[in-house]
Structures are given as structure tokens and as C-alpha cells.
């Protein structure tokens, strides 16, 4: 079932352009949201750069690196899935999107394990057995870390649900439209780009 022509649009091609353009404009607003958090982190960093670097070292770099690779790979799978849907190879598209959703889950699991580890080490501000913050700057870093990665994890969860939904619908006879799969792909790639910026800022400012 290709996309039905909606009321206000004279022809289907223009409607596809509009849907995709609308998604890109919405993703621009999402980028501004994460950009504001990152700029806030940079501003706070100028107060105590040493504390930021010290606390960044206490994060689990291996988990962060693996997570980045996981997201990059899932981005590739989504790109291939979108290509497959565009060339009407529904089976390939289905598997690709399902795999991407699975990798998204892997990301969330790794992220969750990091949070548990930080909870135990007392790095979670205001929560947990003990508070192990040497300086206010360390606490600021961890506040920023939880805000940024929390918001990002929320967006990853939404993405995983949408990818899984798409894969499920591709299985049946009512596949999502090409533009629909393309838009979910755009969303997933933006979530990946946000992590591409968050990873060095949080994990590598050692």
C-alpha cells in the first residue's frame, strides 16, 4: 500500500517532499534541544576544567566506545533497510530494521549497566548508597552526564519502538510507506549524530 494522497496536496510527489521536509525541520528542533544541553555543559566546564576531566575518567570508556560502535552499526542497518524498502525488497528491509532495533536494545542494555555501575560507585548525584563527589565541579559533570545521556536514552527507546513497529508491519501486507521508513531512518540517524557528539564530550574529556 503506497502512501494515499492526502487532501491538501495536488500530487503525491509533492506530498512526499513535504513529509520528508517536515521531518527534517522537526529534527532541526530536536538538534537545538540537544545542542542547548551541550552548550550548557561547555559553559559549566569553564568553571572547573580539572574536575570535569577527572570525573570523565571515572566513566566506563569501554562501554561508551562499544555503544558508539553499536549505534553506528545500527545506523548502517537502518540506511540499508530504507534503501531496501525504496526498492521494494520488503524482506530485506524487515530484517535490517529488526536488527537495527535489536542493536538499539543492546545500546540501552549497555547504558543501563553503566548507570548501575555509577549508582554503585556513588557517582549518581543525590541518589545511591553514598555520594563520591570530590568537588562541586565533579557533581556538575555527573549532573550534565545524566541529563544528556538520559534524554538521549529516552530518544533511543522511542526509536527502537518505532523501528520494531516498522519491522513488524513490513512482515504483513500493510508495509509502511517509503517516506515513512525514510523518516524513521532520519530520526534514528539524528539520534546517532547526537551520540556522536555526546561520546567525546562526556567520555573523552579526560
Amino acid at each position: 500500500m503506497t502512501l494515499a494522497r492526502h487532501e491538501p496536496f495536488p500530487d503525491i510527489a509533492r506530498q512526499r517532499e513535504a513529509d520528508r521536509f517536515g521531518m527534517v525541520v522537526f529534527l532541526a528542533s530536536e538538534a537545538m534541544l540537544f545542542g542547548a544541553v551541550v552548550m550548557g555543559l561547555f559553559a559549566l566546564r569553564t568553571f572547573e576544567p580539572a574536575a570535569f576531566a577527572a570525573t570523565s575518567q571515572r566513566l566506563n570508556l569501554v562501554a561508551g566506545s562499544v555503544n558508539t560502535a553499536v549505534l553506528l552499526t545500527s545506523s548502517l542497518l537502518v540506511a540499508i533497510g530504507a534503501e531496501a524498502r525504496a526498492s521494494d525488497r520488503a524482506a530485506l528491509a524487515k530484517w535490517m530494521l529488526a536488527a537495527a532495533a535489536a542493536l538499539g536494545l543492546v545500546f540501552l542494555v549497555i547504558k543501563g549497566s553503566e548507570y548501575v555501575q555509577e549508582y554503585g560507585e556513588g557517582l549518581m548525584p543525590g541518589v545511591g548508597p553514598r555520594q563520591d563527589f570530590a568537588t562541586p565541579g565533579a557533581r556538575m559533570f555527573m549532573d550534565g552526564y545524566f541529563i544528556a545521556t538520559g534524554l538521549h536514552a529516552l530518544h533511543v527507546t522511542i526509536g527502537v519502538v518505532m523501528l520494531a513497529g516498522c519491522a513488524w508491519r513490513l512482515r504483513g501486507d500493510d508495509p509502511p510507506s517509503i517516506v515513512g521508513v525514510g523518516n524513521i531512518g532520519l530520526y534514528w540517524h539524528l539520534v546517532d549524530i547526537v551520540w556522536v557528539f555526546l561520546f567525546p564530550i562526556l567520555y573523552l574529556s579526560r
Binding site: V24, A31, G35, T46, L72, V196, P200, L204
Partner: protein
């Protein structure tokens, strides 16, 4: 979009990832942040250009991406104007001889 280009981009992204991790161990102080940021921009550009197919997109859509990026740089730049220059700005920070309440 040929599969080869997608795979090549993926490999390039992983290479850049390992590069940025490696660079964080170099003893070059603040320069690592600059390198990390540059590599992050490169990776983001690759994802935008290839995965999000901005390469063959109308100029209008590319403009939407650029405008968002420019505004974030504006926010960062003018924030830096305040946070970076707060130090020497005399009335805010207190330097040794003039600021402190000194006693006869």
C-alpha cells in the same frame, strides 16, 4: 545508493571512532578537545551526507540543517563571549590588590 558506499561510510565512521578514542590518550592537553570535536563534526557530516541522503536532497532541506547548526554555533560563541571573558572583566572577578576590602 549503492550498498558499497553505505558499507564504506560505515567503515569510515568506525575508523574515525577509533581515531578519536586514540587521540584522547595523546599527551597534548587541551588540543584533544579540539581534535575530538573536529572528528565528531566529520562523523556527523558523513552520517548526514550519506546515511540521511542529504547529498541528493534539495538545497532547501540542506539549508534547514545548516541553519540549525549555525544557530547552535551562535549560542556557543556568544556564551563563550561571557564565560571566556568573565575572568579579565574586573568588576566580576576579584583580583588580588584592588578588589579585596583592605584595612589601614
Amino acid at each position: 545508493m549503492p550498498l558499497g558506499r553505505l558499507l564504506f561510510t560505515w567503515v569510515a565512521l568506525l575508523v574515525l571512532l577509533s581515531l578519536t578514542i586514540a587521540s584522547s590518550f595523546l599527551p597534548i592537553g587541551e588540543w584533544r578537545q579540539v581534535i575530538n570535536f573536529a572528528i565528531a563534526i566529520a562523523k556527523a557530516a558523513l552520517i548526514l551526507w550519506i546515511f540521511m541522503k542529504m547529498r541528493d536532497e534539495a538545497a532547501l532541506v540542506q539549508l534547514a540543517v545548516i541553519v540549525a547548526a549555525v544557530l547552535l554555533l551562535v549560542l556557543g560563541g556568544l556564551l563563550a563571549a561571557d564565560y571566556g571573558l568573565r575572568g579579565p572583566s574586573p568588576y566580576v572577578s576579584i583580583d588580588a590588590n584592588t578588589a579585596a576590602p583592605h584595612f589601614p
